[in-house]
C-alpha cells in the first residue's frame, strides 16, 4: 500500500534539481534564522559570563565617560583617570559590601607585539584581596606572587602562550625596561583575563610612578540591596559607579544595530525561501494537472488534494529547516568569526549558542512560514475540476 506521505515524497523527487534548489533556499534561511536566535541568546550569555568572571559586581572609578568605563572594565584602557587608595577603606566599611579590591590598570606600548607593535595590558592587584575575588582561577603552572613588593608577574593563558613563557622566565615591562619574573601561568578562563599580565599592585605603582589606583572592584553581600549601595557610593567625591546592569545595557545598546542588520538579513532570506517554495510547489501542481484530475476521478476530495500538496510543502520545509540547523551547528565557529568581525564589542567564548529548544523553535518557524507559502498552490490544486484538469485546461 502507499500513503499520502510517500506519494508526496515521490512527487518531490520527480524534479530533483528544482527540489534541491528550493531546499538550499530554505536551508539558508533556516541557517541564518537559527544563528541569529543563537546569537541573541549567546551574546547575552557570553556577556554575563564575562561580567560574572570579573568576580565583582560593582566598580568604582574616577569620573569620566561611561562608555570608556565600560570598555575599561572589560578590556582595560589607556588615558586613565585615578583615585586614591584611601577610598577603599571608606567603601569597605559599608555593611552591604562583602569584599573590596583595589586595581591599577596600566597599558604600555610593546613594539614587539604583533605587526608594528601593540598595547600590553598590566593589572596591578593586591595579593591579599584580588585572588579572593577570583576563586575560579586555576594555575597551569606556579601560583600568585610572594608579596606586594615582589618584581613578579602572573600571566594569563593567552598572554603566556603568545610570548611562549614558562614559570621562571623573565619578562620586560615595555617602555620601562624593568624585568619581572613569571611565577604563575593561569589556565584558560575564556575571558579577558587570558590576555592579561598580573603584577603586585605596589610593584606596578612603583614601575608607573603612580601611587594611586584606577579601579575598585566591589563584591556585594548576598541579599544586599545593590542599588542602595550604588547610591551610597555615588556620594563619594569625583567617582562614578559602574554596575553589571549598566555595562550590560551599554554594550547591548552598542550591538543593537548589528542585531537589527542580521535580523533584516534573516527576514530577507525567509522571504526568498518563501517565494522559492511557492514557485516550486505551484510549478509542480501545474505540471501535474492531469494527474490531479485523475486523482479526483479516483475519489480524492478537494481537501485530499490540498493535504497532498501541503504535505509536499511540509516535507520540503522540514528537510530544509533541519538541514539549515545542522549546518548552523556544524559551522557555528565560522558564524562566530563573521559576527565578531561586525560587532563593536564581542565578549569572550562562543557568541552563537544553539540548543535543542532553539533548534525546535527555528524549525517551527520555518515549517509555519513554509506551510503558509504552500497555502495558495495547495488551494489551487484542491479546487481543480477533474475534467478540465485531465484535458489540461483551467
Amino acid at each position: 500500500m502507499i500513503s499520502r506521505f510517500q506519494v508526496a515524497l515521490k512527487n518531490l523527487l520527480r524534479k530533483k534539481v528544482r527540489t534541491l534548489l528550493t531546499l538550499v533556499g530554505i536551508m539558508l534561511s533556516s541557517w541564518v534564522l537559527v544563528s541569529l536566535l543563537g546569537f541573541n541568546r549567546g551574546y547575552e550569555q557570553a556577556l554575563n559570563r564575562d561580567i560574572d568572571n570579573m568576580g565583582y559586581q560593582l566598580m568604582v572609578m574616577a569620573k569620566g565617560c561611561p562608555y570608556e568605563a565600560a570598555t575599561m572594565m572589560l578590556q582595560g584602557g589607556a588615558g586613565l583617570r585615578y583615585i586614591d587608595r584611601s577610598m577603599v577603606d571608606s567603601i569597605v566599611s559599608n555593611p552591604a559590601v562583602d569584599k573590596v579590591t583595589p586595581i591599577l590598570m596600566q597599558a604600555f606600548f610593546d613594539p614587539n607585539k604583533g605587526d608594528g607593535g601593540g598595547i600590553a595590558g598590566y593589572y596591578g592587584v593586591e595579593i591579599a584581596t584580588y585572588p579572593a575575588m577570583k576563586p575560579f582561577f586555576r594555575f597551569r603552572q606556579g601560583g600568585w606572587f610572594r608579596d606586594e613588593h615582589a618584581t613578579e608577574a602572573v600571566m594569563g593563558f593567552e598572554a603566556a602562550e603568545l610570548e611562549q613563557r614558562e614559570v621562571g622566565d623573565m619578562i620586560m615591562v615595555p617602555e620601562k625596561n624593568i624585568p619581572l619574573k613569571v611565577v604563575g601561568i593561569l589556565e584558560r578562563t575564556g575571558t579577558q583575563d587570558d590576555g592579561t599580565i598580573f603584577v603586585p599592585l605596589k610593584t606596578l605603582q612603583k614601575i608607573s610612578a603612580i601611587d594611586k589606583i584606577t579601579t575598585i572592584g566591589i563584591k556585594i553581600k548576598k541579599d544586599a540591596d545593590s542599588s542602595k549601595l550604588e547610591n551610597a557610593l555615588y556620594q563619594l567625591p569625583d567617582v562614578q559607579v559602574v554596575s553589571f546592569s549598566q555595562v550590560k545595557q551599554t554594550i547591548m545598546k552598542l550591538i543593537s544595530t548589528a542585531r537589527v542588520m542580521v535580523l533584516s538579513i534573516a527576514i530577507v532570506a525567509i522571504i526568498i525561501a518563501m517565494v522559492g517554495v511557492i514557485n516550486t510547489i505551484l510549478m509542480s501542481v501545474l505540471e501535474r494537472k492531469q494527474e490531479i484530475g485523475i486523482l479526483k476521478t479516483m475519489g480524492a476530495m478537494p481537501g485530499d488534494i490540498f493535504r497532498l500538496v501541503w504535505t509536499e510543502t511540509l516535507i520540503l520545509c522540514a528537510c530544509g529547516g533541519v538541514g539549515g540547523i545542522v549546518f548552523a551547528l556544524a559551522f557555528a565557529r565560522v558564524t562566530d568569526i563573521m559576527v565578531r568581525s561586525i560587532l563593536p564589542y564581542a565578549p569572550s567564548g562562543g557568541l552563537v549558542m544553539i540548543d535543542i529548544r532553539l533548534a525546535a523553535l527555528t524549525l517551527a518557524i520555518i515549517v509555519a512560514v513554509g506551510l503558509a507559502s504552500g497555502l495558495y498552490p495547495a488551494w489551487k490544486a484542491g479546487r481543480m475540476r477533474p475534467l478540465e484538469s485531465i484535458r489540461g485546461e483551467g
Binding site: 502507499i2 515521490k10 494527474e291 480524492a300
Partner: protein, 230 residues
C-alpha cells in the same frame, strides 16, 4: 448501493459549451438506459458527443439540461446540479475510469499506482485487492516495475486494475485502446469482456474503432450529439 440495483438512466441530457458568442451543442437531448451488467459501446466520429455523454454519465461533468438517474436516485435533474464534493462522493462509490493515455504516476511502481485510490478512499473488504487484480490481469510479475519499464498494453492493464481496486459498479472506458496497436487492443478487449462476463461488471466504453465497439453486447452510435441504437 448494491450491484443489483445500479443502472443509469438519462432523460433529455444536453450539454452546451460556449466559445465567445458561439454556442456549441455537444450533446443534444440524449435519452437512454443502461442496465446493470451491460457492456455498452459508444461509437462515432470525432466531435459526435460520445466522450461528452460518457463524462456526464460518469459524473465528471454537469449537464446543461436533462436528468440523470443512478440506481434510482436522481443525480442531475430539474435544475439540480451537484457540487464537486458531491460528485466526488458518487464517483468513488460507483465508478472506475480508464482513459486513452493511462495516466499512471511515473514515480510510483505498478503496485503503488494500483493502490493509489486507496490512499484517498477505501471501500470495506478491499484488502488484498491490489495483488489479486494485478494477478488476474497478468501483471503479477511486474508489480515492482515503474510505468516506464512496461509496455503500453501493460500500462492499460495497470490502469484497469487501478480503476477496479475500489470495486466500482460501473467501469467507464474512454478510448481505452486509442494508444495501442491491434494486438494489444485485442488483449485489452478480451480483459474487458472477461470482466463483464465473469464479474458482471457494467462497462460503458467510448471508441472510434468499429471492430472494438462490437465487443460489447450493445452498440450506440453517436452523430451530431445524438445517440442512435445500432
Amino acid at each position: 448501493m448494491t450491484r443489483n440495483t445500479v443502472s443509469l438512466e438519462a432523460r433529455g441530457l444536453a450539454r452546451v459549451y460556449r466559445r465567445g458568442s458561439e454556442e456549441i451543442r455537444a450533446l443534444d437531448e440524449v435519452s437512454l438506459r443502461i442496465r446493470q451488467g451491460e457492456f455498452v459501446s459508444f461509437m462515432g466520429p470525432s466531435g459526435s458527443g460520445k466522450t461528452t455523454l460518457v463524462n456526464l454519465l460518469g459524473c465528471l461533468d454537469n449537464p446543461t439540461s436533462g436528468e440523470l438517474d443512478l440506481a434510482g436516485r436522481t443525480i442531475f435533474g430539474k435544475g439540480n446540479l451537484l457540487g464537486e464534493r458531491e460528485l466526488t462522493r458518487i464517483r468513488r462509490e460507483i465508478f472506475g475510469y480508464i482513459f486513452q493515455n493511462f495516466y499512471l504516476i511515473p514515480t510510483l511502481t505498478v503496485r503503488e499506482n494500483v493502490a493509489l485510490p486507496l490512499a484517498f478512499y477505501r471501500k470495506p473488504g478491499v484488502e488484498g485487492e491490489v495483488e489479486r487484480l494485478l494477478g488476474m490481469l497478468g501483471m503479477g510479475h511486474r508489480m515492482n516495475h515503474l510505468p516506464r519499464q512496461i509496455s503500453g498494453g501493460e500500462m492499460q492493464r495497470v490502469a484497469i486494475a487501478r480503476a477496479l481496486v475500489n470495486r466500482p459498479e460501473i467501469l467507464l472506458a474512454d478510448e481505452p485502446t486509442g494508444n495501442l496497436d491491434t494486438k494489444r487492443s485485442q488483449e485489452i478487449g478480451e480483459v474487458l469482456q472477461e470482466l463483464n462476463r465473469n464479474a458482471g461488471l457494467t462497462i460503458v466504453m467510448v471508441t472510434h474503432d468499429p471492430g472494438f465497439a462490437r465487443l460489447g453486447g450493445r452498440l450506440i452510435e453517436m452523430r451530431d450529439g445524438r445517440a442512435h441504437e445500432a
